[in-house]
């Protein structure tokens, strides 16, 4: 397998992008990535998008976006693992470059969520759950994570305030991210008193509905070296699945797929949690970040809440998590999130993260999760 490097990244401000369609958002960010990489032809493209079909009635976006990006007749593949679609797009692109099948691959993610009403968006997101045995019963995504939250609070004593602190931390970070959907600070009180969504989670515990895209370009490391770019290598990748239904997990409070995917990535990169300088994790809901930090080995099992409370995962903490602002502040256009995590880590490893810069960031991990944890894709990036 060849070593793979990231040579270009592109992302625009996320939010409710009324004037832009799915294809507009996609092309804009992909062009930025091409520009950043200084190339104009790609060998292959992977697009992560959870449900262009339910959100804009459009399938076959592989052909659509290859066409609109001006890259015909390039092989284009749309991949889907719910909210882990972006991470999966990178992983498959990585495999294509590492195997020698292609040299330059564009891996991106896009989601256009505001062309449907709130009800339909909730329904579309809900299709990441078991339709016949969870969706049929009236579950929602906030509902599934609320089930995890209550169980975690019962089992480990995690508190309502600790959940809120995840959102506060991520908004603090996001307030320094010019591309974030909600770049402003919030308080613990604001979170706790915000509108109830699925007890105990309130609206400020939940990542928003967002339009957005992000793109990365990867190529063999040797080719990147020749281009004279700072070498950011993808040194680890992992991918695992877990039961689709939350009720069927062996332990409702534990994210096994995340643990397994991370284990693969750590092994492949020959790294341990303490070697990682920053993490971008999937805080679709505040409780998700708490559980993910445990599954990644950042905090001991059950202590994810204490970790955030102690400031361990703050930008200036020992183990910065979600310097970008996370899904909560940056936004969560579902399929794009996994690639935006790579964008952030690349920026950090290049030293280009401005006010969000984690000092001496050399190694970063991105953890991208689908559904209630049924899929997880993890990547490790290192600056050579």
């Amino acid at each position: 397998m060849r070593d793979v490097a990231v040579i270009g990244i592109g992302m625009t401000k996320w939010g409710e992008l009324w004037k832009q369609s799915l294809r507009d958002i996609y092309v804009e960010t992909a062009l930025l990535a091409l520009e950043d990489a200084g190339i104009d032809r790609i060998d292959s493209m992977y697009i992560g998008s959870m449900s262009s079909g339910l959100f804009v009635g459009q399938e076959h976006i592989a052909s659509l976006l290859a066409d609109y990006l001006g890259q015909l007749p390039v092989p284009a593949t749309r991949v889907e693992t719910a909210c882990a679609s972006g991470g999966l797009a990178l992983r498959l692109g990585f495999m294509e470059v590492a195997s020698g099948m292609s040299d330059v691959v564009l891996a991106s993610g896009v989601e256009k969520m505001t062309d449907v009403g709130g009800d339909e968006a909730t329904y579309a997101l809900g299709t990441a759950a078991d339709q016949e045995y969870e969706g049929y019963q009236g579950i929602t995504f906030p509902g599934l994570y609320a089930l995890i939250a209550r169980a975690h609070m019962q089992k480990y004593g995690t508190t309502r305030e600790q959940l809120a602190k995840v959102a506060v931390k991520n908004h603090h970070n996001g307030s320094k991210n010019p591309l974030a959907q909600y770049p402003f600070e919030i308080t613990v009180d604001a979170v706790i008193n915000s509108v109830k969504v699925a007890d105990p989670l309130n609206i400020l515990d939940c990542s928003p509905i967002t339009d957005g895209a992000a793109a990365v370009i990867i190529c063999p490391a040797d080719m990147a070296r020749k281009m004279g770019k700072p070498l950011i290598k993808v040194t680890g990748t992992g991918h695992a699945t877990d039961t689709i239904q939350l009720s069927q997990r062996k332990d409702i409070t534990w994210l096994e797929a995340t643990y397994q995917a991370a284990k693969q990535a750590y092994a492949m990169a020959d790294k341990k949690p303490k070697d990682i300088d920053l993490f971008e994790v999937h805080d679709c809901f505040t409780i998700a970040e708490i559980c993910v930090t445990e599954a990644l080995g950042i905090a001991p099992k059950g202590k994810g809440g204490e970790a955030v409370e102690a400031g361990l995962t703050a930008m200036d903490g020992k183990i910065p998590v979600n310097a970008s602002g996370g899904l909560k502040s940056k936004g969560h256009p579902v399929g794009a999130t996994g690639i935006a995590q790579i964008y952030e880590i690349t920026k950090q490893l290049r030293g280009e993260a401005g006010e969000r810069q984690v000092k001496d960031a050399r190694i970063g991990m991105a953890q991208n999760m689908g559904g209630s944890g049924g899929s997880c894709v993890v990547h490790i990036l290192e600056r050579e």
Partner: protein
């Protein structure tokens, strides 16, 4: 969304809690599958879930999906039935404040939703407090 055939196919599960028991490792799982989720064995027999159980975790849905838009707020949880099998189901006929982890509940047949004004009616299992 349920089309008539998708709804009809799951009736034995939704109306009667029909499940599978694995003849190799002995677990009962729901809904039925072709492979035991535990040991992957294909020698399975039909069984029915117990009608009583307890609440493992729960939440109150306040922002519902489109299909349930008139019904919020409602309680939904993971229920562990007596043989150890877990299902996701609404908890009804109960004040929200009275729902607790460990609370005893039992199966009751209810209507889950209607497919709009003219579509089929979708029935299935919910759980009510088991006062003993």
């Amino acid at each position: 969304m349920s089309t008539p055939s998708r709804y009809w196919r799951e009736i034995p599960q939704r109306y009667r809690l029909e499940a599978n028991k694995c003849n190799k490792c002995g677990i009962t799982f729901f809904p039925p599958r072709l492979l035991c989720p535990e040991c992957k064995n294909r020698d399975l027999e039909k069984t029915k879930l117990a009608q009583k159980g307890e609440v493992i975790t729960y939440t109150i849905i306040r922002v519902p999906p489109a299909q349930f838009s008139d019904q919020a707020p409602y309680a939904i949880g993971v229920i562990e039935l007596e043989e150890g099998t877990r299902v996701t189901g609404q908890i009804v006929d109960c004040a929200f404040d009275d729902i607790k982890i460990g609370m005893k509940v039992k199966f009751e047949f209810r209507k889950l939703f209607e497919e709009g004004h003219a579509g089929i009616l979708c029935y299935g299992y919910k759980f009510v407090p088991d006062y003993g």
